[in-house]
Every structure is written in structure tokens, then in C-alpha cells.
């Protein structure tokens, strides 16, 4: 644990680029899949990758260099250690579960669609239009 902290403190720029870059890359890749892929399952994969990127962003902005996880281990109650921001983590916890719920629902819709329309191509799902 300590290793991370000191190392992160020293190389915060690289970390920033790496973490933010990854997060943005995930969002963008997910978005691309949603917008370009025709298979419904791929689209749902895209959505979940996009969500993952956003979750990473949340955790990243909550990080404080040199901070520890916001858990008071025995004996360290009063030690004035820096702790990372607990709020984004709590939010992400909620967001992950909600994201899973949405994914499950989406997939069940995909199964239903395949049963009824016999296709998993989003372009063929246009019986409702105009």
C-alpha cells in the first residue's frame, strides 16, 4: 500500500495521463461501439464499457495523492493520515450496481427481441418509425 502512495505522489502527472487517458479511451471506445456496431449484444457491451470508463473517472477524481483508502484500521484512528475522498467511491458503488441492473435488463430485451424479430441487428429493428 505504501508503495503506491509514495510512487503515485512522485509521478502524479504520468498517473494522471494514464488514468484519465484510460478512462476517456474507455468512454470513447464504448461510445464507438454503441454508435457503429450493429449487433445488439455489441451495443450493450459498448454501454457497459462506457459506464466502466465513467466509474474509473469517478474513482480517479476522488484520489488524493498520498491518501489511503478511507478505512480506519485498528490503531490508526487518530493518526492524521490523508485519506482519499470516500464520496465518489460510494457513488461509484451505487452506479456499478445500477449499471448492472440496466445491463441485465438490456440483455433480457435483446433476448426478447431475438425471439420475436429473429434478428439481433439494430438496423432491422425499425418497425416503429416516423
Amino acid at each position: 500500500m505504501m508503495d503506491f502512495q509514495t510512487l503515485f505522489e512522485q509521478n502524479i502527472e504520468i498517473i494522471t495521463i494514464a488514468v484519465y487517458g484510460t478512462a476517456i479511451a474507455l468512454i470513447v471506445i464504448g461510445l464507438y461501439a454503441v454508435l457503429m456496431k450493429k449487433h445488439l449484444v455489441k451495443i450493450v457491451i459498448g454501454l457497459s464499457i462506457m459506464d466502466a470508463g465513467i466509474h474509473l473517472l469517478f474513482v480517479a477524481v476522488g484520489y488524493i495523492s498520498g491518501g489511503t483508502a478511507p478505512i480506519f484500521s485498528p490503531g490508526s484512528e487518530n493518526a492524521a493520515t490523508t485519506m482519499v475522498d470516500p464520496v465518489p467511491q460510494a457513488l461509484v458503488l451505487t452506479a456499478i450496481v445500477i449499471g448492472f441492473a440496466v445491463t441485465a435488463l438490456a440483455l433480457s430485451l435483446v433476448i426478447r427481441l431475438y425471439k420475436h424479430h429473429h434478428t439481433a441487428n439494430i438496423d432491422q429493428l425499425n418497425s416503429l418509425k416516423w
Partner: protein, 247 residues
């Protein structure tokens, strides 16, 4: 092709904008201010969690107590997702009878050798115990209701996948599901009735880092754990029991 170009341009612009925006929100910067004189909610939580609530894991304190209402909402999202899933994949009884395949399980047929089955049999109780441990210790160590619930669900997943004949006891599941949800709300209502604020913790909180500490927080997390476990198992159960299409 034109669409591809447009999409590339769009996502490039979006990525660029995000990057520019995030560049002024550097990682690692302390934004939460001093804990002694809290300006931000985070600092306040870090102050109150060990001192007032006696909860070692601040995230648990935030999730269950400070923002407990969100968690209630989240649990209901899961519940609604399970309901919605059941409603979407619900199959009319006539339909089933018509196809005359009513009592046959249409479980995912992964090749499950006896080795896998025995392994699953051994692992299953361990996984359940692990899950229960995780959500009971949610206020002390990393983890909690969601994690524990999800772990238990994976245990059931293992059984469902490896044993053809394995069925969750629906009656027990329904009761557990409902009672856990009602328990969570009930704890909230208890706070409302006794202290005038929904989900309010009791005054008695015990000592930091004790197993029984933090007032009602562990209790809530247990309910959350059971609720999440049952909901996730439900979802998996429904999905796994979809009848495969006639080939």
C-alpha cells in the same frame, strides 16, 4: 463510410473536450479540505464516520448512513430490474403447455464433468460463507452488502451452471427477498419513528473496529447483502432458465 467518419469526428471531439476539462481537475489534488473545519461533505464524513458513528470503513458509513437513501433507491433499482426482467421474459403458461416441455429445465448446458460438480459442491458453502463474512464485516473492512451479495450470487451461479437439477427454492427466495427489503425499510422507519429522521442511526454505536459497532449500520448492510444476493440470484435464475430456441 461517411457515418464512420462522422462518428470518429464526434467521438474525437468528445474525447478531446473531456480531456481538456479533466486536465483542470488534476488527480491527486486534495479537494476535500481540512477535516477539522469541513467545507466539503467528504471531509465531514471522514470526521464523523469514526468519531460519531464508530464505523471504520468510511465508505460504508457514507453508503449506508449518510447517503443511505441512495442505497435504498439502489436496492429498489435492483429489485425493479429483477421484476422487469421477470416481466420481460415471463412466459405465458399456455405457451409452455403448448410446447409440452414444461418441466424440463433449459439450463445452460456447459460441459460439467463430475470433477466440476464435486468442486462446485465443495466451493459453494465456502463462497456463501465468504459472502456472508464480507457483508457482516462491511463496516470494518472493505466490502459490504453489495459485494457480499454479489459473491453469494456467484456461488449460486456456480451451482446453477454445474448442476442440471439444481433449483433455487423459490419460496424461500421470495420470502428472503421481501423480508430483507422490508427489513431495510423497517430499520429506516424505526429511525423515523424513534428519532424523527428516516434511517437515523441509534445513539448507541459501540467502539470503533468492533464487530458489533456502528449502531444499525451492520444490520442494514446485512439486509442489503441478503437483498442483493437474492435479487442477483433471481436475475441469474431467470436468465439461465430461458428456453433455448428450437434449432
Amino acid at each position: 463510410m461517411l457515418k464512420k467518419l462522422i462518428v470518429f469526428l464526434l467521438i474525437a471531439t468528445l474525447g478531446y473536450t473531456l480531456a481538456v476539462t479533466l486536465s483542470s481537475i488534476p488527480i491527486g489534488k486534495n479537494r476535500i479540505g481540512s477535516i477539522e473545519n469541513p467545507e466539503t461533505v467528504a471531509a465531514y464524513y471522514l470526521d464523523k464516520s469514526p468519531n460519531d458513528l464508530k464505523v471504520a470503513n468510511t465508505i460504508t458509513a457514507v453508503v449506508v448512513n449518510f447517503r443511505g437513501f441512495d442505497t435504498l433507491g439502489e436496492v429498489s433499482v435492483l429489485f425493479l430490474a429483477a421484476t422487469g426482467l421477470a416481466s420481460i421474459l415471463y412466459r405465458k403458461e399456455e405457451e409452455e403447455e403448448e410446447e409440452n416441455i414444461r418441466h424440463i429445465s433449459h439450463r445452460l448446458n456447459l460441459p460439467s464433468s463430475s470433477l466440476v460438480q464435486t468442486g462446485a459442491k465443495i466451493l459453494f458453502p465456502l463462497i456463501i460463507v465468504l459472502g456472508i463474512y464480507v457483508f457482516i464485516h462491511g463496516h470494518l473492512t472493505p466490502g459490504g452488502g453489495f459485494q457480499g451479495g454479489a459473491i453469494i450470487a456467484t456461488g449460486f451461479l456456480l451451482m446453477l451452471v454445474s448442476y442440471k437439477g439444481f433449483e433455487t427454492n423459490h419460496k424461500v427466495m421470495v420470502w428472503l427477498e421481501s423480508l430483507a427489503g422490508l427489513g431495510f425499510v423497517g430499520v429506516g422507519v424505526f429511525g423515523l419513528v424513534k428519532y424523527g429522521s428516516f434511517l437515523q442511526n441509534t445513539g448507541w454505536t459501540g467502539n470503533l473496529n468492533d464487530l458489533i459497532s456502528g449502531g444499525l449500520i451492520p444490520l442494514i448492510y446485512i439486509f442489503v447483502g441478503i437483498k442483493v444476493a437474492t435479487e442477483l440470484t433471481n436475475i441469474l435464475d431467470i436468465l439461465l432458465n430461458i428456453k433455448p430456441r428450437k434449432k
